[in-house]
């Protein structure tokens, strides 16, 4: 063929390519129609005349690495053909989105920097599908998010609205307890399960009553202490509670005492804290407790909660109820409230939960100094355990006893 022929043929056979340089310095060329599908590249080519040769390669934004670029161009190559039906495109999109989460996030980032909106929408929807319906721990696990909110922050979405010293104290206690528990659990993981308590109710109650103080319940049983919520009424309606109340895996029973939470009412905070913890520490705790035992305990608590719901008369909130914290292993706080008036109702609960009817336990006076009780060191204070709102279940009592005999 003559040279002139060649000259004529060549341009027709050649597709035009655009030269691109990725963040790592490597340069590649891509078919023009594919690359021009990305608004960023399009803009660069049209406005700035880039990409025409190797030396004049368009440098792509930092987030676009070669792997992502090839993915993006696969997408572009498919979609830039006008002849495809909507159904075909949808099917392709579905398949395209099947990749691991890490790549999905990178792809979102890359597509966004190339201003490829359809792909950004697609990846966003895929990420939303991953997030929806999962618990916060699961989500943190998937995306490697640090669990760096304090208990306080988990409760209060608005900063500095709660300067309550009790909360700060609580936080400190939590931190301490958590550390402690971690160590102890490593040692005692098996023992707990085997301790199914057979002693009589009287025994258990009597030691409780006779004891100097009780805190530090290192029960590892995950308390469905959300049941606690029933005790609260909704006196303080601060709406910021709502968002957190949402988070706990509530049974419908709980919703009855759904409280908007008061900064001023420690009970509410308490409940939220441990319900929070109850949920979040789920994974942590569940691994270590025999499921059968757990179920039994759960049932107990549920059963109790139901009864509590129906017969409990609340007057909590009118006066500052002295609150006693028993912080157990996973950071749950068990609140044992002293009820000044000492209603009759709760006697029933204890008998129900402890499995045997017996004489109502005697409850001593309420200790005046809350703080003292809150600290976990067995003190020699003469105040005794006052009244239970929720009776301890068998294994809890056992652990309590164990703990204090330390």
């Amino acid at each position: 063929m003559s040279e002139s022929d060649m000259a004529i043929i060549k341009p027709e056979m050649m597709k035009s390519y655009i030269w691109l340089e990725t963040s790592d310095g490597s340069i590649q060329q891509v078919e023009q129609e594919v690359a021009m599908f990305c608004p960023f590249i399009c803009h660069q080519v049209l406005q700035k005349g880039g990409g025409s040769s190797k030396n004049n390669a368009i440098s792509l934004p930092q987030k676009v690495n070669p792997a992502m670029l090839s993915l993006i161009f696969d997408y572009c190559r498919f979609h830039q053909l006008p002849g495809r039906s909507n159904k075909e495109r949808k099917v392709y999109d579905e398949k395209f989105m099947r990749m691991d989460t890490k790549r999905l996030c990178e792809l979102t980032s890359a597509a966004d920097s190339l201003q490829l909106k359809p792909l950004v929408d697609l990846t966003s929807r895929a990420l939303a599908r991953i997030i929806e319906g999962k618990t916060p721990e699961e989500i943190r696990e998937i995306f490697h998010l640090p669990d760096d909110l304090t208990e306080e922050e988990k409760l209060e979405p608005l900063k500095n609205t709660m300067d309550d010293p009790r909360i700060r104290l609580l936080n400190r206690l939590y931190a301490k307890k958590r550390k402690e528990l971690k160590e102890r659990e490593k040692l005692k993981s098996i023992e707990v399960e085997e301790h199914v308590d057979e002693r009589s109710v009287d025994d258990l109650l009597s030691f409780i009553n006779g004891r100097d103080h009780k805190v530090v319940n290192t029960s590892k049983r995950k308390k469905k202490t959300k049941k606690r919520k029933e005790h609260k009424n909704g006196t303080c309606k601060v709406s910021n509670k709502d968002s957190h109340n949402l988070h706990s895996k509530q049974r419908s029973v709980d919703e009855t005492s759904f409280s908007l939470g008061g900064v001023s009412n420690l009970h509410n905070i308490e409940d939220d804290i441990f319900s929070r913890k109850a949920e979040f520490e789920d994974g942590y705790i569940d691994d270590e407790i025999d499921p059968a035992l757990k179920e039994m305990l759960d049932r107990e608590v549920e059963d109790f909660a139901r009864r509590l719901n129906s017969s409990w008369v609340l007057s909590v909130g009118q006066e500052r109820q002295p609150v006693h914290f028993s912080i157990n292993g996973n950071g749950d706080t068990r609140r044992l409230t002293g009820k000044e008036g000492g209603g009759d109702e709760w006697f029933d609960f204890s008998s129900v939960t402890l499995g045997e009817a017996s004489d109502p336990p005697e409850y001593d006076k309420v200790p005046s100094d809350r703080e003292e009780l809150v600290l976990d060191v067995p003190s020699s204070s003469s105040t005794s355990l006052f009244t239970f709102e929720l009776p301890l279940s068998i294994s809890e009592l056992e652990l309590l006893r164990e703990d204090t005999s330390r």
Partner: protein, 396 residues
């Protein structure tokens, strides 16, 4: 646990918000518990949609109601920045002062799209709604709507949907005329409405209910009409109006592309004195759908009257060709066809005037096989101008 880099929190805020908008509001708020960076990411969402699924289900209605109210109040209080869309659809809430407060809050935060579908009740829309002048879409259901005298309409409103609203016709009229940009109008479940609609930009009109008199006074851009009318059997009520309904309704819509009519459509159109010709031709009409429209009454104007023909009175069956053309008509669908002469006339007319007709779907209501067969035979006889026309028969 090893140190793995955070995958997602560093994406730009716009993308994260995009992701959060694809989640239910409840899931979106839960993300505030994930980590410090995520604490407030949800709070700048501009689109909020609530329904009873936001709270735990329960058989106790009052409980669900209370929880839902608390939830919404909580979300609004924690929210930062403008709120552009607010959708509330739940039958659990009917008439509560909380809703008033929410609307007040929204009116101060630049609300643009408001959808309020409440349960059956008498919720009276508060006056703050009429100060939301940035509204582009308003949808109200089961409310009482009473604009103050000083209200001049929503100057940016493009879409208006009113369903079972207690409101005076004058208020609706002035509302419609006060919204010059209105493009979509849907009025449903009204009783005996007498309306004159003047909306220069209106493109889609959806009417459903008992209408006494609708006059499309100034709707030159109307592209699609769907009318579902329920009339009293006693047509005498309607004879009062002297203008021909057909003209009043379809006389001023030259750009019409889709016409959908239900039940008493033709009956309604036939009321009034027939002035003869219509001033316009429907050169854009693409689709005609008539559902259960009965042509029974011999007095009823066949929709043929829509299309001006040379001779004023003639027997259609005598003609074999028509000069009139519906140049874009592609789809015709009629249900509940029982082989009445008017119906057949109409179909024949359409088939004879539509050069690009593609499908004619006829659903028969006849149970007698023979009668059906007769009708089908008759229909197949009709000459077709369009080579691609297909006649499809569906069983009821």
């Amino acid at each position: 646990m090893g140190e793995s880099p955070d995958l997602i929190s560093d994406l730009p805020q716009s993308i994260l918000e995009n992701i959060l908008t694809h989640l239910s509001i409840r899931d979106a708020i839960r993300t505030s518990l994930l980590s410090t960076k995520w604490r407030y990411k949800w709070s700048t969402l501009t689109d909020l949609a609530f329904d009873e699924k936001c709270v735990s289900p329960s058989t106790d209605r009052a409980l669900v109601e209370t929880n839902l109210v608390r939830f919404i109040t909580g979300v609004l209080l924690l929210h930062q920045g403008p709120i552009h869309k607010f959708h509330l659809s739940t039958s659990f809430l009917q008439c509560r002062p909380d809703i008033d407060q929410w609307l007040l809050f929204l009116s101060r935060n630049g609300i643009k799209e408001l959808v309020l579908e409440l349960g059956e009740g008498e919720f009276r829309v508060p006056s703050c709604l009429f100060q939301c002048l940035k509204l582009t879409r308003l949808e109200l259901c089961h409310c009482e709507f009473d604009p103050p005298k000083s209200f001049n309409g929503f100057s940016s409103l493009k879409s208006l949907t009113l369903h079972q609203i207690l409101v005076s016709p004058e208020a609706i009229e002035s509302l419609i005329s006060g919204c010059p940009l209105l493009e979509f109008l849907s009025l449903s479940y009204f009783d005996s409405l007498v309306l004159s609609i003047s909306a220069p930009n209106l493109m889609y009109l959806y009417l459903d209910g008992e209408f006494k008199d609708i006059f499309l006074e100034n709707t030159p851009k109307l592209v699609a009409i769907s009318v579902s009318m329920y009339m009293h059997e006693d047509v005498a009520d309607f004879e009062q109006s002297s203008d021909y309904n057909l003209v009043k309704f379809l006389g001023g819509v030259p750009l019409l592309e889709k016409l959908v009519g239900y039940i008493y459509f033709t009956k309604y159109l036939s009321v009034g004195d027939d002035p003869g010709r219509l001033p316009i031709t429907y050169i854009h009409l693409k689709t005609i759908e008539l559902y259960q429209v009965s042509f029974e009454d011999a007095n009823e104007a066949s929709p043929i009257q829509l299309f001006p023909l040379e001779e004023e009175s003639f027997d259609l069956f005598e003609r074999d060709y028509f000069e009139y053309k519906l140049p874009r008509l592609e789809t015709v669908r009629m249900t509940d066809v029982s082989g009445i002469r008017n119906e057949l006339e109409f179909i024949r007319f359409l088939m004879g005037t539509s050069p690009v007709l593609e499908t004619v779907i006829v659903t028969s209501s006849l149970s007698d096989k023979d009668a059906r067969m007769e009708m089908v035979v008759e229909l197949l006889r009709f000459p077709r101008v369009s080579p691609r026309a297909q006649l499809l028969f569906l069983q009821d």
